[in-house]
Amino acid sequence: MIRRTVGRLAATVFIAVVLAFFTLPMLWLASAPFDDTPAITTSIPEFTLRNFAAILDNPYALGSIRNSLIQGGGAAALVVVLAALAAYALSRVRVPGRDVLLYLLLLLSSVVTGTAAMVPIFELATRLDLIDTHLGVILVVSGGLLPAAIFILKDFMDDTPTSYEESARVFGATPLQILRHIVVPLVRPGLATIAVWALASVWGGFLFQFILLRDPAKAPGSVILYTLYTEGGAPRLDLISTFSLLYSLPVVAMYLFVSQRYGFRFHGGIKR
């Protein structure tokens, strides 16, 4: 009896501490942008919208969100299209060595990380004239995301019946038409998963964007955060917190939307 009470008490304390640990930073993120002096929270925050005005005045802030959209959207589109084509073919046709290929792809994608390929990727981008281009970021990131995307999509496609495709074929549809009009609608949740995952990867991604983009006018939001300093070199917490909030909202909204619409549960690594 005593043991049970102690256990319940310990559990309650544990949950309270954990909840505080996770909630407090979020409260800061939600309140600091409206606070006149976000560094010192011991005082009652003084409500203001000035920080939002200041962010709009920053020459790179809005543009960086556009850059994130271009890079994230570009990578998501490229990954979804190429992975869907590849996964479809790999799911439906017995290409020799298919299983070995898939295995190697998955292995490679987790072995060749930004940290392990920093130098050659930087070199490659320099020689291909991809430094300071959206395309450079899109290609590099897509190359890294594709193997897992193919893997996941193939799983989805293996689960769909082939009978519709057979009848469409009888009526003379081409493989691309079949893919577009029959297979794509069937695996839409898978495609949505991949698209969200790719977009979120780029949205939060830092290393490649940081080393491939020098021009702040091309930098995405994740990197621009790093430049919000005063002239004296101290971070501008008011701007950083405000921009952080603005930059987070689209991703959070996207997750809520997609998980509601397509009901994908939170699986493992599906965030970036």
Partner: protein
């Protein structure tokens, strides 16, 4: 007419077209994944530099870069810091806290369960760099927000305890993954078995050891492999401390960045990258071994990505 094999070539793709469908993806992977891996091996054997003479005409220097790194106290310290960082933030922090949360929420969570899970999950959804700056702001300076909240003035987190700072950061943003994985794993443990053990007077540690652990061993291994790999390769702590002060939070990804791109020693950086690549290979092979034979969505998806 050649009958298509088993999976019934329903779309009439044929092998030729199938290859054409796979090729664009493979080309991109070859150029931006396979080739860099091979090139890093070559570059690591040269004295290639960003600027100067060796930039125009790099020479092969054999294993000089490797012996150089092994003799560099800063590399060894970086390796040690990385071990502490991965061990502290991923193994003890994310996996430990994640399991404890999953367990407590399952056994005693009650109505709070969904709310707590939701809050933790939100920390995972937020963009990584945002979380980095969030913690930067909280930990920054003597009068930083966290010190004000905890009433611990004088505890200069980022300056005096840089490694601890990035550990806290990584625990905060990564625990959700472990929590969800263990929540799913605990579904495999029949409540009746736990009830029986409890009635027989088994303490919680005994229940965990005798009833829970044998059933979720695989999940634990999967979890540890994945989060260690991700943490090991993550560059985001750079946002908090830049590796400093005096290299005291310079984990390997940050070390490589400094050597290769900031100090411009591309060859030396590539050599260290190759060592990282080898370590990744060990993790990935172990993970794929676990995965083999049972391709369940959940585990495959888990392979999809490190928290970037």
């Amino acid at each position: 007419m050649a009958r298509p094999t088993s999976a019934a070539d329903a779309a009439g793709l044929g092998q030729g077209r199938a290859i054409a469908f796979v090729l664009p993806a493979l080309a991109l992977i070859a150029v931006f994944l396979v080739f860099p891996a091979l090139w890093t091996i070559y570059l690591g054997l040269t004295d290639y530099r960003l600027t100067g003479l060796a930039a125009a005409d790099p020479q092969l220097v054999g294993t000089d870069n490797y012996t150089g790194a092994l003799g560099d106290p800063r590399f060894l310290s970086s390796l040690w810091l990385t071990l502490l960082y991965v061990g502290g933030s991923a193994v003890i922090g994310q996996a430990g806290l994640g399991f404890a949360l999953a367990w407590v929420l399952r056994t005693r969570g009650g109505p709070l369960r969904r709310a707590v899970e939701g809050v933790v999950l939100l920390s995972w959804i937020l963009p990584s760099t945002v979380v980095g700056f969030l913690w930067f702001a909280l930990l920054d300076r003597d009068d930083g927000t966290l010190n004000a909240l905890l009433h611990t003035p004088g505890f200069a987190w980022l300056l005096d305890h840089p490694l601890l700072s990035i550990i806290v950061f990584n625990v905060w943003r990564g625990t959700a993954f472990s929590m969800m994985l263990y929540s799913a794993a605990l579904e495999n443990v029949p409540p009746s078995h736990l009830e029986t053990a409890r009635l027989a007077g088994a303490s919680v540690p005994q229940q965990l050891r005798d009833v829970v652990l044998p059933r979720i061993r695989r999940h634990i291994l999967t979890n540890l492999l994945l989060i260690s790999l991700w943490t090991f390769n993550d560059f985001t702590p750079f946002v908090l401390t830049g590796g400093g002060p005096e290299g005291r939070s310079e984990i390997l990804p940050v070390y490589v960045y400094r050597v290769a791109l900031r100090d411009g020693q591309l060859g030396a950086g590539a050599a260290i990258s190759f060592l990282i690549l080898l370590i990744n290979l060990v993790f990935a092979l172990a993970y794929l071994r676990l995965l083999r034979g049972r391709r369940r969505h959940q585990e495959i998806t888990a392979a999809a990505g490190p928290p970037a």
